[in-house]
Amino acid sequence: MKIIVAIKQVPERDAQIRVAPESKWIEEDDLAYTINEPDAYALEEALQLKEKHGGEVIVLSAGPERVTSTLREALAKGADRAIHVEVEAGDLLGRDTLGIAAMLAEAIRAESPDLILTGLQSDDLGLGQTGVVLAELLGIPHATIIMQVEKTDSGLRVKRELEDGWFQHVEIPLPALLTIQSGGNKLRYATLMGIKKAKTKETATVAAVAATAQAITLERVYLPEKQKKTEMLTGTPAEIAAQLVEKLKFDVRVL
């Protein structure tokens, strides 16, 4: 099976976020970036499918030069080669989900993969749609929020997460696109050997198709207003514990 894993590079979870001047986006200069967590699970699923059934795993990411570090990590974990769709950070901000998916679709078409995997949503924008829109643009079936993937004679049998602890199996023919949920597999670390090998693996750089008019625009980002007035408690751990017990007794009334 030839599998493409579409990966997004996002700010690290613990990163201190500051709104940029003019409030159109966040300050990016001193941010630390990492692989979008659900995409890491998509990569893991792809690597396990390859180990079981053979084939090739290609990692794909769109963004400025910095995304090549995330692609290199994926190569070190066992992906065979990488495609970097080169697009400046500012240009990327001017593309909505449809624009991003169109750009990825263009890079994917030439490869004709059997399977495309991606995380179910990004940790930064969280729109949760790029995979589904990509499948629609490529004219292939999709299934979302997938926990497990098994190969069958006619395609794949996937375990899809539903709400409130329910699941469902879905049979899907290939080629197909799946959006992967976190937690289905245990993530691997890159080995020293893997890191060494990654240096010999190919990363192809392709130019992004020109941006088109957006359907939706992100007009402003800002700190959320508090929904509740939070009373902050301070002091030594013992003092804080004593204050909390008072609250539990007299305000919350559970003691």
Binding site: L125, Q129, I145, G165, V170, A213, E219, T234, L248, L255
Partner: protein, 329 residues
């Protein structure tokens, strides 16, 4: 092209609990915009559900029946809803932000060269000339963002987050029911869905627990779980967790609170080391009181907390356990 069309979700003749929240959102948005609100329900047989909607304040109820839309598949929904949206020609198509909507609505919007504005937490519809602003959360709830449809050339698609609008604010009235004949053939459906199932019988019912102590990523490693278990025991509370803890197998999945786990509304929700990603907050924001302990003062959990402590949970939690036991003695 005018009005708001709310597409409700049902399975086997039972509404998804978020359907009427979406209906409330649609009615309120239409009222602010000075336009009409209609609703649609899809299924193999939706007569009773459509009749229920006919008792709401709506311009029209679209009853879309086709044997092939059950069981749910994205292909069937996209095909049928594309026809409905073309026929009804609404300016806005509004969905509840359910897992099912996440599966098909982005593809439906693509058919109209539009992008779904997903997981909306507020709608500001007062600027009639420029169109409504839709607020969503970014970066796990650390920031809010205002989104707008770029040009009014096609329908604007949006989905509203659970708990944002109240189902009990849906206005009653009378509305005519219009049957919609959709064209759909079996060959258009590529996926074969199986019956929904649960992994194992749910033995923990967090939804009835009066006190919940919940633990998140801040716990660091599995060996530290007993620290919060002791606090839960001292308080006579159920122990719960955010998704990453259950993903790692540190606590069973049935103790997970959030959109993929249980929805709870205890008297007290004590969140330890939980940053408060949206997916977690939707599962616990109905709690009567929330106490949050987190090392990051900017963690979104503090936005919904009544009492907050910024500090090291490994120092504070044992002290709190001690103090609770002393207070009970």
């Amino acid at each position: 092209m005018s009005g708001v069309l709310v597409v409700l979700e049902q399975r086997g003749g039972v509404w998804n609990r978020m359907s009427f929240e979406a209906l409330a959102a649609g009615q309120q948005m239409a009222a602010t915009l000075g336009t009409t609100c209609s609703a649609a329900v899809l299924g193999a047989s939706v007569g009773a559900l459509a009749q229920e909607l006919a008792g709401k304040k709506l311009e029209k109820v679209f009853a879309v029946e086709h044997a092939l839309v059950e069981p749910y598949t994205a292909d069937a929904y996209v095909t049928v809803l594309e026809q409905l949206v073309k026929q009804a020609a609404p300016a806005f198509v509004l969905f509840p932000h359910t897992y099912q909507v996440r599966d098909f609505a982005p593809a439906l919007a693509t058919r109209f060269r539009q992008v779904l504005i997903s997981d909306v937490i507020a709608i500001h519809a007062d600027d009639a000339a420029r169109g409504p602003v839709f607020v969503r959360q970014l970066l796990q709830g650390k920031l809010n963002a205002d989104y707008r449809q770029a040009s009014r050339g096609g329908p604007c698609f949006l989905s509203v987050q659970a708990g944002t609008f109240r189902a009990d604010t849906v206005e009653g009235g009378t509305a005519p029911v219009e049957a919609v004949a959709a064209q759909l053939e079996a060959a258009q459906i590529r996926n074969k869905p199986g019956e929904p199932f649960r992994e194992s019988a749910q033995t923990v019912d967090l939804s009835s627990a009066p006190v919940i102590v919940s633990v998140g990523r801040g716990i660091g490693e599995q060996e530290n779980i007993p620290l919060v278990q002791e606090l839960a025991d001292a308080l006579g509370a159920e122990l719960a967790a955010s998704r990453p803890i259950c993903d790692n197998g540190w606590l069973p999945m049935e103790r997970q609170v959030g959109s993929s786990g249980q929805t709870v509304s205890p008297k007290l929700y004590l969140a330890v080391g939980i940053s408060g990603a949206i997916q977690h907050l939707v599962g616990m924001k109905g709690s009567k009181a929330v106490i949050a302990i987190n090392k990051d003062e900017n963690a979104p959990i503090f936005e919904v907390a009544d009492f907050g402590v910024v500090g090291d949970m490994f120092e504070i939690v044992p002290e709190l356990t001690k103090a609770v036991l002393a207070a009970k003695a």
